[in-house]
Symmetry: C2
Subunit: 206 residues, 2 copies
DNA sequence: CATCGAATTGAACTAAATTCAGGTCAGGAA
DNA sequence: TTCCTGACCTGAATTTAGTTCAATTCGATG
């Protein structure tokens, strides 16, 4: 669900609705291609009302990205927390990565397509805050994958090599899927899970 | 070099200069962040003159992407043509992928960051032509990698599995590097070549 | 009831890409 | 040489979308 962020929202807040509409449009039609005013229409408010919730269209995009990163990170931690064997944890993390709702698929797509936005500072205050937040999540996710690989090396499950580099490669494999995956396409999410899990085990294993 | 495209260019054409300036700015500062007029300044012409060479800023971007895809494809074919063993061809293709000039690094970055542009049709004529061109190159590159993997399976060098899926994974690994690689960063291009070549051999091998 | 802040609005503003309506310039034909 | 043509270029005007502004409505709370 999109709700339950830290900040308490008033009962007649349209924030969640805006995010949902934005995710659908940004994900389906692309960020630059969607007119900000169209989101307002879909939610049933005037364009100006959007600025009560987000400082800008870009701020909304960054929020969507940050939310999805936070969710992914949390999910990773949940499913790997109580799995001591690194190879099992690796498979669990990958399974979790593809255990997503249709809307989360769109969010991952948006995330992949606009990751470059996180590289350069934003002029406006709240955008920059959200960007930093997102960057932090990215770093934490990379750290989690690295720690997982290191754990496997320490336990002897994986041969000793550059853990961070390997983690980067594995993570890239996992997320690159969202660039081409389409529901109803040649491969199902289950197919993808199997494909990537096997590949990851091979990359990191003996 | 950026020149030697099919179309003969007049001697005082600034097209190559525009492309070079655009690659630098789009690659360094990002496409949306660079002002089209700034490119004109850098080349030493008025903003309107840009439209003599490109129908739009997006058309220029699509041209850059298409050019880089064409170059990559050609290079792949060159280095794998006379290598019969699939595993050697795989390593050659990966080596070639990272044997690039600084400007080509930027072009690959631009390509990765805007691949999603190829998914949806363009309203304007020449943009759409360039998009189709780029999509064709993408398809051909995917076909080349797939054929390479299939060749390996047929020869027994790689175990039989879903060749297209595996090729997609390998190609994704190869190109995902451009999202994070920076000259002077933790890993050199030689490091990257080794890292990805090893990973690819593991993914596709026994 | 009074009030406060969240939520909303129409009208005006702005930045940047693009179009328009015409110039200039170099090189080949007459 | 002069003329002509098409490549190349320009300043001014237009367009489009995102954004700001000043002012208003609504609902809960004291």
């Amino acid at each position: 669900m999109v709700q339950d962020v830290m900040e308490r929202e008033g009962p007649r807040s349209k924030r969640a609705g805006i995010l949902a509409a934005a995710i659908d449009s940004f994900g389906q039609d692309g960020y630059e291609h969607t007119k900000w005013a169209k989101i307002a229409d879909e939610v049933g408010i005037g364009q100006t009302a959007l600025y009560h919730y987000f400082e800008s269209k870009a701020h909304c995009l960054l929020t969507i990205m940050s939310l999805e990163l936070a969710r992914s990170l949390q999910r990773f931690r949940e499913v790997t927390a109580d799995v001591p064997q690194a190879d099992a944890a690796l498979r669990a993390a990958i399974a979790a990565a593809y255990d997503v709702s249709p809307r989360e698929v769109l969010q991952m797509r948006i995330l992949q397509n606009h990751m470059d936005l996180l590289a350069t500072p934003r002029a406006s205050e709240r955008e920059e805050v959200e960007r930093q937040q997102a960057r932090k999540h990215v770093r934490e996710i990379e750290d989690e994958w690295t720690a997982l690989v290191e754990r496997g090396m320490a336990s002897g499950a994986f041969p000793e090599r550059d853990a961070r580099a390997l983690a980067t490669v594995v993570l890239a494999m996992v997320v690159s899927v969202w660039r081409w995956y389409r529901p109803g396409g040649r491969l199902s999410l289950d197919d993808v899970r199997e494909l990537i899990a096997d590949a990851a085990v091979r990359v990191v294993g003996p």
